[in-house]
């Protein structure tokens, strides 16, 4: 019996930082931004439980310039997540067939983005309207 020695093509350790893998890496890292935003909300929940003083401290931190910058960066990452999420959706969902014809991947992406836009704008409008009315 001869020992199997398959050829492994050498791969630089930082392959993920170079084209064509860089776009994949950036897309996957938007997930970190989504999780970080969850951690920020969790921190607020902890302060809310600790009491009024701790919550006031949390509000001060959240209102700082550094927090504003961090949230703007999170927003950019979140928007890239939205775009890439619906670009991948046609590949992850079962094939959609309408009137005997498969629906084009570009149409599914466009419809997804439209629905996402409507959802986010509706939530924004509802909260702003509630704030102005109450």
């Amino acid at each position: 019996m001869s020992e199997q020695r398959p050829f492994h093509r050498p791969m630089p350790a930082n392959w993920w930082a170079h084209k064509p893998y860089l776009s994949y890496t950036l897309r996957e890292l938007t997930g970190v931004a989504v999780a970080l935003y969850g951690v920020i909300l969790l921190a607020g929940l902890v302060c809310l439980w600790l009491g009024a003083d701790a919550y006031a401290g949390y509000q001060d931190v959240i209102a700082s310039k550094l927090s504003l910058l961090a949230h703007l960066l999170l927003l950019v990452a979140m928007l890239w997540h939205v775009v890439t999420w619906f670009q991948t959706l046609p590949k992850t969902m079962p094939r959609l067939i309408l009137h005997g014809k498969p629906v084009k991947p570009q149409s599914i992406t466009a419809i997804g983005l439209l629905v996402a836009g409507v959802c986010s704008v509706a939530l924004l409008a509802a909260v702003v309207a509630l704030g102005a009315w109450s």
């Binding site: 997930g31 989504v34 509000q59 927090s67 619906f86 959802c119 702003v128 109450s134």
Partner: protein, 127 residues
Amino acid sequence: MKPSDIGPRPHRSFAPVFWLLFGAGGMLSALFGPALILLTGIMAPQGWGLPARFTDFPHALEFARNPVGKLVALAVIALFLFHGAERLFLTLKDMRAGALPVLRAATYGVAALMSLATLILLLLIGF
């Protein structure tokens, strides 16, 4: 044909559970994420378009005490965490950043602990 005739029971994987949590978090954040970041991170703290009392202590507490508010907070925090955990785990695995049990603990483990903490906090805050 008895079940034993078709061979040994296949190995069951936990992957679909995490895949489901990843997908749910990805869809929730894709639909409402931008609006949520704008509202809680930019508009409310800076006072742009929202009254300051909207997120003050009594109102925030009222939201966290409402059963629907609790459900929204738990869904957003836990699903966002598990979405990030799945993406980070698979990326670190592809980067060969460490042993798989370590990577699992650092991603899924942290997400699970923080989700549990969210649940406990919401229960401690009361109804």
